[in-house]
C-alpha cells in the first residue's frame, strides 16, 4: 500500500524549528522573570 505524502513546506519547517528554539530561549527569561517577581512579593512558597 502506498503511503500518502503531504510534506511540511519549507516555511512551516523553518517556523517549527526556529520558533521552538526561540520558545526555549524565551522560556528561560520568562521563568527567571516570574522567579524574581515572586521573590520580591514573597510568594515563592
Amino acid at each position: 500500500m502506498n503511503e500518502i505524502v503531504l510534506n511540511f513546506s519549507e516555511s512551516i519547517f523553518s517556523f517549527v524549528v526556529v520558533g521552538s528554539i526561540i520558545g526555549v530561549g524565551f522560556t528561560l527569561v520568562f521563568l527567571l522573570g516570574i522567579l524574581v517577581k515572586e521573590m520580591r512579593a514573597e510568594k515563592l512558597w
Partner: protein, 479 residues
C-alpha cells in the same frame, strides 16, 4: 560500547558529573537549612508553592534522559512528525491543568493520588491501583537509573555502574535531606540548566547552517522525514499522547505537586509547563535534520544528539550534552523517589496501619522508603538489559487504563463505584493483548479505549447516587 563513539574522556566526564553533583547537593543542603522548617515543608513543600517553582519542577521532572535522546532518533527515522509525537506528551501535562485545579479544590489537604482512588472508589480499586502505580514507579525508576549508566558510558566510556550509582546516590542524598521543598528548588536550577544548554546548543548549531539548505538536503536525501502523514509517525502521535496522559493523570509525582501548589497556581503551572515542554523534543529533534542534510556518518542512531553537537561544537559540545542528560536524569529520579515513597508510606502506613500518625513520624518513614527504593532500583539496574525500553512500554497498558477512572472520578458525581476496578482490569488485559498480538505502540490506545468504555457503560447502567464530593475531604471516612 564502541570506543569510536565516545565523545569525552572518562576523566572529563567524572569532573563534569562531580561538579554538577556538588552543585546539586550544595544547593539542596542550602535550601533544606534555610527553608525546611517542618514536616509539612519536607512532605508537601508547605502547600503554597508559587508559579515559578511550580512550573519549573514540572518541566524538569518531565524531561527525562529519553526526551533529548529519543527525539532526534525519531526525527531521523520517522521524520519531523516523530519528534512532534514526543512533544504531545507536553500536551498531556497541559491537559492535567483543569484536573489539578479541581483536585486542589476538592482535596486541599490531600496527600496522595492513592488517597483519591480509595475515597472515591473503595479499597478493591485502590489495591489494584497501588499494584499498577508501584509497578509503574519501579519500571520508570529502573529504566532511568539504567539510562543514566548507559548514556554516561556511551558518551564518555565511563564504567556503567559508576555512572548509574552516582546518579542514584546524589539524588537519594539531596532528596533525603530536604524533601519535596529541596527538590522543587533544585528542579528550578536544573530546568534552567537543561533549557539554557539546549537553547545554546541548538542556536549555535543552526547558526552555522542555512535553513533552506537543511530543508532541501533533507528533502533530497530522506524525503520521508518531511512527510506529515507517515504511518509510523501518526501511530507514535496517538500512542505517545495517551501514554503521557496515563503517566501524568495517575502518578503521585504530579498529584504531589498539585497538593504542594497554592490554589491559584496549581492549574497555571501545569498549563505553562506543558507549553514549555512541548518545544523541547522539537528542538532536540531538529538536530537530526542537520545530520541528514550534512550526511554525517551515524553509526548508532540513538546517539544522533551527541554526534551532531560534538561535530559542530567539539569537546565543549559533548560537555554540554552531558550537562543536559545529567540534569534531566537527576530531576526525574529525585521526583520518582519522593513520589513513590510518598505514595507507599501515605497510602499503606497512614491509610491502613496507622491513620493517626503524626507528620514527624511520617517524614521518618518516607526517608526509610526513599532509601529502600534507591537500593532496590540500584540492585535491579545493576546489570543493564537490552529490553530497557520494553520494560517502560510494558507499563503502557497499566497507566492508560487509569486515565478515565480518574477523569470520571474527578468530574462526574454519579460515577459507578465499582467501575474503576473493572475499567483498570479491562484496560490492562486488552492493552497487554494489543501489546503482544498487535504492536507495543497499540497497547496504550486499546487500554484507554476499553477502560473508558467500561466506566461509561457501568455509570450509565448503574450510577452511584450516594456519593457526595465531601467524601473526598481529608476528614471524611473512605468510600
Amino acid at each position: 560500547m564502541e570506543a569510536s563513539l565516545t565523545f569525552i574522556s572518562p576523566q572529563a566526564a567524572l569532573l563534569v558529573i562531580g561538579l554538577m553533583s556538588v552543585l546539586i547537593l550544595g544547593f539542596g543542603y542550602y535550601v533544606s537549612k534555610r527553608h525546611v522548617k517542618s514536616a509539612n515543608d519536607f512532605l508537601f513543600a508547605g502547600r503554597n508553592v508559587g508559579l515559578a517553582l511550580g512550573t519549573a519542577t514540572l518541566v524538569a521532572a518531565w524531561i527525562t534522559g529519553n526526551t533529548t535522546m529519543a527525539a532526534p532518533e525519531l526525527a531521523y527515522n520517522v521524520g519531523l512528525i516523530g519528534s512532534l509525537a514526543i512533544s504531545t506528551m507536553g500536551l498531556s501535562l497541559a491537559l492535567f491543568a483543569p484536573l489539578a485545579r479541581r483536585i486542589k479544590r476538592l482535596m486541599p489537604q490531600g496527600y496522595s493520588s492513592g488517597e483519591f482512588i480509595r475515597r472515591r472508589y473503595g479499597s478493591l480499586a485502590w489495591k489494584l491501583y497501588l499494584i499498577l502505580a508501584v509497578y509503574y514507579f519501579l519500571g520508570f525508576l529502573v529504566t532511568q537509573a539504567m539510562a543514566g549508566g548507559i548514556l554516561l558510558q556511551a558518551l564518555s566510556g565511563l564504567n556503567y555502574k559508576i555512572g548509574m550509582l552516582t546518579i542514584m546516590a546524589v539524588c537519594t542524598f539531596y532528596t533525603l535531606k530536604g524533601g519535596l521543598k529541596a527538590i522543587l528548588a533544585t528542579d528550578f536550577m536544573l530546568s534552567l540548566m537543561i533549557l539554557g544548554t539546549l537553547f545554546c546548543v541548538a542556536a549555535w548549531s543552526y547558526w552555522h547552517f542555512d535553513l533552506t539548505d537543511i530543508y532541501m538536503g533533507a528533502a533530497e536525501i530522506r524525503p520521508t522525514t518531511l512527510n506529515v502523514l507517515t504511518a509510523a509517525g501518526l501511530m507514535f502521535l496517538g500512542s505517545n499522547f495517551l501514554f503521557g496522559c496515563g503517566e501524568i493523570f495517575h502518578s503521585n509525582i504530579w498529584w504531589q505537586r498539585v497538593y504542594a501548589s497554592s490554589e491559584e497556581t496549581a492549574a497555571r503551572s501545569f498549563t505553562l509547563a506543558g507549553l514549555i515542554w512541548f518545544a523541547v523534543p522539537v528542538v532536540a529533534g531538529s538536530l537530526a535534520f542537520i545530520a541528514i542534510s550534512q550526511q554525517y556518518e551515524i553509526p548508532q542512531v540513538n546517539m544522533i544528539f551527541p554526534i551532531v553537537v560534538s561535530k559542530i561544537m567539539g569537546v565543549s559540545g559533548a560537555v554540554l550534552v552531558l550537562v543536559i542528560i545529567y540534569a534531566a536524569l537527576a530531576s526525574t529520579v529525585s521526583s520518582l523517589l519522593t513520589g513513590a515513597a510518598g505514595l507507599i508510606v501515605n497510602d499503606i502506613y497512614r491509610g491502613v496501619i496507622n491513620p493517626n500518625v503524626d507528620d514527624i513520624t511520617l517524614q521518618r518513614y518516607v526517608r526509610y522508603a526513599i532509601v529502600a527504593l534507591a537500593v532496590i532500583t540500584a540492585a535491579a539496574a545493576w546489570n543493564p538489559y537490552d529490553s530497557m525500553y520494553l520494560v517502560l512500554l510494558l507499563t503502557g497498558p497499566a497507566v492508560a487504563s487509569m486515565i478515565w477512572p480518574i477523569v470520571f472520578g474527578i468530574y462526574t458525581q454519579e460515577t459507578n463505584l465499582s467501575s474503576a476496578f473493572w475499567a483498570m482490569l479491562a484496560g490492562l488485559v486488552t492493552g497487554l493483548a494489543a501489546y503482544f498480538w498487535i504492536s507495543p505502540y497499540a497497547a496504550a490506545i486499546f487500554s484507554a479505549v476499553s477502560s473508558g468504555l467500561v466506566v461509561f457503560v457501568l455509570t450509565r447502567l448503574q450510577p452511584n447516587r450516594h456519593f457526595q464530593w465531601q467524601h473526598l475531604s481529608h476528614d471524611a471516612p473512605s468510600a
